[in-house]
């Protein structure tokens, strides 16, 4: 009897989210996690349409030259530790991001910032070097409490494992390797959360996640497409298949000589049967991919889509000097046309895609192996080809500049250009796109960028993958919007969620 | 003398002598007995004679020359040992033929024919050749064991309790066989046993051993042994009276 009561009671007020990966720390400017939206708030916040609107900022004004932004901060916002959030905290956050010592992955987003000045505790002015349209998007960056970092090295701060923010939920406890618990923050400035506790349970295995969703041990999780059909039959589960800007592709590591020849990369792009992958591996929860901005307003429909064409692929390889040998594989100067695609073993979809494409590449005479490894055993820069996943629903600059710009090579910067892709035209367009403010102009630039990228592909784009969430049916308040990479952002309005069976 | 053992001692653990100053000899064509109770060191002595272990002191000579490592090979051609436990002395995974071939590795001539000739002398038949030791009875096993040792026509045969674990009936058979061999080929024997009756029956001369020492030597006179040492008297006194026969 007692036990049951207990169960009902805990069920009412907690939400268990099964998460694939655990994070090393929770400092939002050092590492991106899907807890950021719960723990932190920024001046701005993406709304349901992925448009940046004010949050911590009460209001803002932009100077006509688009170089000066003046923000007024709400005066009643307190961090989880009760300290008031002021302009100083925001300034500290920007400074920390720009501080090389901290090696923040967000630095590139703020390089256009010229200065941030405090007018008073609740008013500040941000000046840009050039007009920079995405800045409002960037200002969704979580604001860190300055007082938590006094006299400490940010990389080693206690904060990283016990964060303090101004979001709807505050840190409760972290059982490394198992779970992390957040609890509702009573003094939150927005909608007060109805669910008392949000627990992130770390389960690397997608199968186990689905299992536990089914058994009710967890309330929500991202599903593999193949699992949907079975879970749909469950009475207590509701499936949200949400369109997302999350694409998969094979990253060509340009440090490998094979990929130096653009025709080889194009050949493999042609030899990828995307339709079958969407059908068989994604079970229809996705679309064939050809561009990193496909889900964006700036999408260029008219680029080379590399529709499955074995004949073309063979011709390209022939042209590139890779001739078919006795054993059916191609050779050039005695070298076999062979490489390995690495994929994270815990991500079954990626492993399946890798296996399927690798098998398909045999048709054009390539001997392709698949290495499914644990994330931590993978150094993407050292692979020959990697099954990547990127995509952002926000500004076009996001997940393009940092992925394809020469300056963002992961070997020389903190950027995410793991394949050391370098194309002067692409660089130029990305730079221009960042600094142009006129939407129409920007569109032209990014359309052009997509064209150039398609001509000289950095990735063999495979498919956009819908984020399929399985959720306890009794959970209400979920608002869909186009999601980002790994279905991130699903929890964006978690403070509005509630248990219907209360 | 064919074999002389002079002044031989042996101990396995310090201060615990298993053999003490053993002197013993076997003449050509002679059957010499060695009796003593369990643990008196008979088997140890036989191992020393056969150079399976080295004596601590003393010399073992064959035909007047001390047996050294170098001479061992020729020594083995003339002197053979038959172990008490026939089952353990035959390689269980070999056939009788293979077993009998082993000592003849280096000899010339038709080895198979030689074996067939000799087989009759221990009352075995060709049919036994293809069997393995486990398929033979205890007596048969001991006969194969014996045959293997006499195949090389040794001048001396050391028999360590070769009949003790057998039935009387089979014992008798084998003992009679040995006597016959001795008569026909003049093969000398050192016959080790704790069975007084057997020793009395087969031997011309006996040594009596106790606690690693030879306490008495006695020669058969008119089919009887005479003893002076008290231990020997006690030993032979414990023989059951012949009663009824």
């Amino acid at each position: 009897m007692k036990k049951e009561e207990n169960n009902v009671q805990t069920k009412e007020s907690r939400l268990v989210y099964a998460s694939e990966s655990e994070f090393e720390g929770l400092n939002p400017i050092l590492e991106e996690t899907n807890l950021d939206a719960l723990l932190f708030r920024g001046l701005m916040r993406f709304d349901q349409n992925n448009k940046a609107s004010t949050d911590v900022a009460e209001s803002y004004t932009v100077s006509p030259d688009q170089l000066t932004y003046t923000f007024v901060i709400k005066d009643n916002i307190k961090f989880h530790d009760g300290k008031l959030l002021t302009a100083d905290d925001f300034i500290f956050t920007i400074e920390s991001i720009l501080d090389d010592k901290n090696a923040s992955f967000l630095k590139a987003d703020f390089t256009e910032v010229d200065s941030v000045t405090k007018i008073d505790d609740h008013k500040l002015v941000l000046k840009l070097k050039h007009p920079f349209a995405p800045i409002l998007d960037k200002l969704t960056v979580p604001i860190l409490p300055k007082h938590a970092f006094e006299n400490v090295d940010m990389r080693k701060a206690e904060f990283n494992s016990h964060p303090i923010g101004a979001g709807p939920y505050m840190f409760d406890k972290w059982d490394r390797g198992t779970s992390l618990t957040l609890k509702a923050y009573a003094n939150f400035h927005g909608t007060k959360p109805s669910i008392e506790k949000v627990i992130f349970k770390f389960i690397p295995d997608s199968n186990v996640r689905a299992l536990q969703l089914k058994s009710g041990e967890v309330d929500m999780t991202l599903l593999d497409p193949v699992q949907v059909e079975e879970l749909e039959k469950e009475k207590n589960i509701k499936i949200y298949a949400i369109e997302s800007a999350d694409y998969r592709g094979i990253l060509f590591n340009m440090n490998k000589d094979l990929w130096k020849d653009v025709d080889v990369r194009r050949a493999f792009s042609y030899a990828t049967d995307r339709t079958q992958i969407v059908k068989g591996i994604l079970k229809g929860y996705g679309t064939e991919a050809y561009s990193p901005l496909q889900k964006h307003a700036f999408n260029n429909e008219n680029v080379e889509k590399y529709v499955y064409d074995i004949k073309k692929a063979k011709e390209l390889l022939d042209g590139a000097g890779w001739k078919e040998g006795q054993d059916g594989f191609r050779y050039k100067n005695g070298d076999k046309l062979a490489f390995t695609i690495t994929a994270p073993v815990s991500d079954t979809v990626r492993v399946n895609m890798a296996n399927y494409t690798a098998e398909g590449f045999k048709k054009i005479g390539a001997d392709v192996k698949v290495d499914a490894l644990d994330w931590s055993a993978i150094t993407i820069e050292e692979t020959e080809a990697f099954m990547v996943g990127w995509g952002s629903p926000y500004d076009a600059n996001q997940h393009t500049h940092i992925l394809f710009h020469t300056n963002q090579s992961s070997l020389t910067s903190s950027g995410y250009n793991f394949g050391s892709y370098s194309n002067a035209k692409v660089d130029e367009l990305l730079d221009k796109g960042r600094l142009t403010t006129d939407p129409e102009q920007r569109k032209v630039i990014y359309m052009k960028f997509q064209e150039e990228l398609a001509k000289d592909p950095a990735f063999d784009f495979i498919a956009y993958e819908d984020a399929v969430y399985g959720i306890n049916k009794n959970l209400g308040g979920v608002k869909e919007r186009i999601l980002g990479h790994h279905g991130s952002g699903f929890l964006w309005n978690v403070e509005e969620w509630k248990w219907n069976d209360q | 003398m064919l074999l002389t053992v002079e002044n031989v001692s042996k101990s396995y653990r310090k201060g615990n002598k298993v053999l003490r100053d053993i002197d013993l000899s076997v003449g050509e064509g002679e059957i010499v007995g060695l009796i003593g109770e369990s643990g008196s060191g008979k088997s140890t002595l036989s191992r020393l004679i056969m150079q399976l272990e080295a004596p601590e002191t003393g010399v073992i000579s064959f035909n007047g020359t001390p047996v050294t490592k170098r001479l061992r090979k020729t020594f083995y051609e003339d002197c053979q040992l038959v172990f008490q436990n026939a089952s353990a002395a035959l390689n269980p995974s070999w056939t009788v033929r293979e077993i009998l071939m082993e000592p003849l590795r280096n000899s010339e001539g038709d080895r198979a024919a030689h074996i067939r000739d000799m087989l009759g002398s221990v009352k075995l038949t060709d049919a036994h050749l293809n069997r393995r030791p486990s398929e033979l009875s205890g007596g048969e096993r001991q006969r194969v064991n014996l045959l293997r040792s006499i195949l090389v026509n040794p001048k001396l045969l050391v028999c360590d309790e070769i009949v003790s674990s057998l039935d009387r009936l089979i014992q008798r058979e084998i003992i009679d066989l040995l006597i016959e061999l001795n008569r026909e080929t003049g093969m000398a024997m050192l016959f080790i046993s704790h069975d007084l009756q057997v020793v009395e029956y087969i031997c011309d001369r006996i040594y009596i051993m106790k606690d690693g020492k030879i306490v008495e030597e006695s020669v058969k006179v008119d089919g009887e042994f005479e003893f002076s040492h008290t231990y020997s008297k006690k030993l032979f006194g414990s023989m059951f009276s012949r009663g009824l026969v």
Partner: protein, 249 residues
Amino acid sequence: MLNVDRLTIEIDGKCVVEESAFSVRPGKITSIIGESGSGKSMTIAALLTILPLGAKATGHALFNGRNLLDASKKEMDAIRKTHIFTIFQDAANSFNPSVKMERQLYTFSGGRRGDTVQQFRTKMTGLLDELELSVDILKQYPFELSGGMLQRCMIACALYVAPDLLIADEPTSSLDRVLQKEFIELLKRLNEEQGTTILLITHDLDVVVEVAHEMVVMQAGKVVETGSVATIFKQPGHPYTKRLLDSRF
């Protein structure tokens, strides 16, 4: 005392003892002699109903008028406990290696008769003394004693319980001559002083001549000859008996 008639023992369908018949008269020493494998031990096992799995005995074995072969488990337990004592050939293995001698000797002797441990201790001490064994052995484990000592312990138990019938299955083959002689003397004493009936199994004719009054000759599972020792030795009836007698040295 014991009348065996038409005793047949089969193991897995194979006949190891066939239609054997003999009797043991009270107060006498009867000896069964025969070569290895002739079925002597099996006969004893059948009498004590301790045959191995798969073995079956038919016929009669009347012990004081009671047929042992169809006695119930309980009855048999009682008979084994009160009337018969058996000494086996292999003394070294006759005791549980991890139980102290005192406990084992008690279960073999005092325990059978319902004596208390105290009673047992006093009586056994005397017996051990008589057998030239030190009392210390009671505190020792079997593996710390020699085969001869263990065999004497068994005899001590036999003396203690003074059974109606003492069965001894080749008790001397593992002993050397000196000990054999001593053991045989003890048997004689037991028979003469306490009048114990003894069934002695052996393959040694010399032993038979030494102690037995009557003898049973077995060959290949069959009893070929019975009678008093003296008559058989004078006039062996069966050719096998003759061969046996001839094989003596």
